[in-house]
Symmetry: none
Subunit: 135 residues, 2 copies
């Protein structure tokens, strides 16, 4: 077992992730920490995220543009992601009804849904309204 030194970069990254409930990208972390005066290099962020995912502290989600991470304690089971194909915003939906999807599919269709990879695409409220306005 390799040792795991306590460095201020590591602490800063973990603190930031814990204090943010949503999905966080590597870029977010670098930018936000930079704004706070805690400069951490991109490489370090990626390397740290990798370790945190391996250790189980973080969950990694894949979207069409890059990876998102989330602190594990906030994941009360499965939740779904909605991504707007117009503005690119990723929504994190925690909803009882939607939580029942995976069990249903497992039971009725013999398929084990992996919520970390599943993203539903469509139009968010704002973009949908804008599109309707043009039609």
């Amino acid at each position: 077992m390799k040792s795991d030194y306590e460095t201020k970069q590591k602490a800063a990254i973990i603190d930031f992730i814990k204090s943010n409930s949503g999905h966080i990208t590597a870029k977010d972390i670098v930018r936000e920490l930079s704004d706070c005066g805690e400069k951490v290099s991109t490489a370090t962020v990626y390397r740290r995220l990798d370790k945190l995912v391996s250790s189980g502290m973080l969950k990694k989600y894949i979207t069409d543009k890059g990876a998102c991470y989330q602190y594990s304690s906030e994941c009360h089971g499965d939740h779904f992601h909605l991504k707007c194909t117009s503005c690119g915003t990723l929504f994190h939906v925690d909803c009882e009804f939607l939580m029942s999807i995976a069990p249903h599919i497992m039971e009725h269709h013999n398929f084990k849904v992996d919520s970390r990879r599943t993203v539903m695409y469509g139009l968010c409220e704002n973009c949908n309204m804008e599109e309707c306005a043009y039609e």
Copy 2:
């Protein structure tokens, strides 16, 4: 409505995808068509794939390294798609319960799901059993 010209590049791309049932990347298409003497530029491939996904003829799915595409002649009408991340099989699911997902999301989360672009990822029955066998 914009017109959609019939070009040989378009035909070549569609033909190639139709003849391949599995995982196809943009790179695959460029390389294979190039080998067949049908040179098509990378930009053209990406632009065409985008249109085919929008029209519903193709399913786009995400892997850790880039996007893959799959032809789906059965993509007309509303039904959900399940993609096995292990064997690559695409399942078409026609199910009343799952059909109620989009309306639910629209009503409760103000998001208009585009079923043509949405694919759920996970493990199919066979691959799931195999994984369990190793654990």
